[in-house]
Symmetry: C2
Subunit: 388 residues, 2 copies
Amino acid sequence: MREVAVIGVGMTKFGELWDSSFRDIGLKAGMLAIEDAGLSGDEIDGMFIGNMASGRFIDQHHIGALIADYSGMASNHVPATRVEAGGASGGMAFRQGVMAVASGMHDMVIVGGAEKMTDVDDPSSNAIIDSTADQQWESSMGATMASLHAMIAKRCIHEGMATREEIAAVSVNSHANAVDNPNAQFRRATKIESVIRSSAVAEPLGMFDCAPISDGAAAVVLCPLEDAKKHTDKPVKVAAVSQASDTLALFQRNSILSFAATRVAAERAYARAGISAKDVSVAEVHDNYTISGILAAQDLGLFKKGEAGKAFLEGVTLTGGKMPINTSGGLKAQGHPIGATGVAQIVELTHQMRGTADKRQIAKPRYGLAQNVGGTGSAVTVSILEAI
Amino acid sequence: MREVAVIGVGMTKFGELWDSSFRDIGLKAGMLAIEDAGLSGDEIDGMFIGNMASGRFIDQHHIGALIADYSGMASNHVPATRVEAGGASGGMAFRQGVMAVASGMHDMVIVGGAEKMTDVDDPSSNAIIDSTADQQWESSMGATMASLHAMIAKRCIHEGMATREEIAAVSVNSHANAVDNPNAQFRRATKIESVIRSSAVAEPLGMFDCAPISDGAAAVVLCPLEDAKKHTDKPVKVAAVSQASDTLALFQRNSILSFAATRVAAERAYARAGISAKDVSVAEVHDNYTISGILAAQDLGLFKKGEAGKAFLEGVTLTGGKMPINTSGGLKAQGHPIGATGVAQIVELTHQMRGTADKRQIAKPRYGLAQNVGGTGSAVTVSILEAI
């Protein structure tokens, strides 16, 4: 199995991009990544696209072919494959791209993620998001992604796993970090009390506990590690990509204080990379809801059980802190165009590992970890990048 | 790169399966394939699912996690990845599964394909199918998959590439072969004049030129070739899996008498397998519309340009003929549950290579080829299996 490197990254601004179509943003992110890698499009021989629900958001299936076409790669008949796993679509597409290069079947792969969510009204977009939960036993009964995460939050508070303030601090952390990210949807800080007092979505979670509806795209270019130096002075090694499943419905778990799929995916990734949680310099975690950030930080082993909330509250997780989490602003403040999110995490970590994260740059990065989640922890990918 | 083998196959009956849900059929096909491989589910370490549009057909995204859950594999946290490429979803999922084993990242993979299309009404299902064409420049203007293929058929007739009778013969061939397939949706023969006189769908294509709306699922189990003999006396080698893209919209092609993506994917597959078209013993081709069968047979090199129609008409392509095509009954008569189709092709070819195709068995099989198409030739996979 060949080792793989990231040699180029690019992304659009995340937000409500009224002036851009799905194909515009998909194309732009891809072009930026290819340019960043110093390549021409002709050198790409494989493409993987993470996308959750273009079939419903823009009435278009088959977007692998769409992006291959509009990027000009269809003229070389470059294979393009779309991958979907709810919120984990981007992370899973990245894993497929790594596998394609590792297997030797492809030598130069682009992985993109894109979602255009604002072309439908809010009730429709929420219904689409809820279709990543179990339609038969959850969403058809009225459960929403927000209410399922609210149940997790309530249980965590009840069991003393985190306080309401600590949960709110995940949002404060992401917003504080996003101030320095020019691509972020919300570049303004917020406060604990603003989060707690924000309009109720599903008690105890309010509007500021929930990632927004966003448009956006991100892309990365991969090649064999042994060839990477020909293309860039600062290749970043893919030390591990792992993935794990859990039950689709939340009620079927033994416990909802933790996502087993995150724990298992992390174990597999640490074993593959030959490191442990304490070696992680910076992490991008899936804070689609604030409570998810608490669970992620604990399930990944970055903090002990019951201690992540305090860390968020005390600023340990800020860009300048001891264990920086979501330096990009995370899903909450950078934005959450669903299929793009997992790929945008790799874009941020690549900048961190290269030392090109500008005002968000952390000191002495060695390993960056990305955790991307589909549903309520039903599918999780964990990827580890290494500065070399 | 490790060589890969198919060691187990299974499928449900294809048809209008009113008594079964999506999860029922997905599970059943998987269990049959695992049983056929002589395994228990605990031995599977990776899963790939081909599915086109569960988000619209059954209001459920994230079906990788769903199938992992209901098959019990979520308890081992087995990674499950859904792949979508319109009609080529199944073939693409198969390619991802092969890549996963070839790369060494997985040792025992199940590839499934499933679609439940009859839970929505006919106008809805047709609108969903049309969303694999270019939404912006084709389907939003009123073009349907049927009318786009009708344009191809008209042009082929106009250019002397095939007669109306020859085009109809593709349907007659598939129906004749399906009589011996217990899993086929339509187990009855038809005649040229019945096809030509069938109710008009998009001139010149009638109802009997078009594959039906179907429910169904299919699955195959893959492992490294070197381990295959431990599990079965009759492993089948995956000699090649290839994939190619073309423009999403049909009007952007230089010619519509041929699908360039089929030609390129076939060239790549033949090169990888070290064979040429004349070595193919049996082929499963994507006859979603009769005209597609003519194009496929020519673009794959099984017949010269302008000669495939005659071969279908003269019965050369029947199960007992010199160049058997669609011994399963193809999409037209076995049925076309979209995401399952590409995987069902592999199921049929595996039976042929093993010599277990029962009344459909061809003599002395060596190489079996599957061609699976998304959109109007916008994405094509070509897979070659080898009897060893």
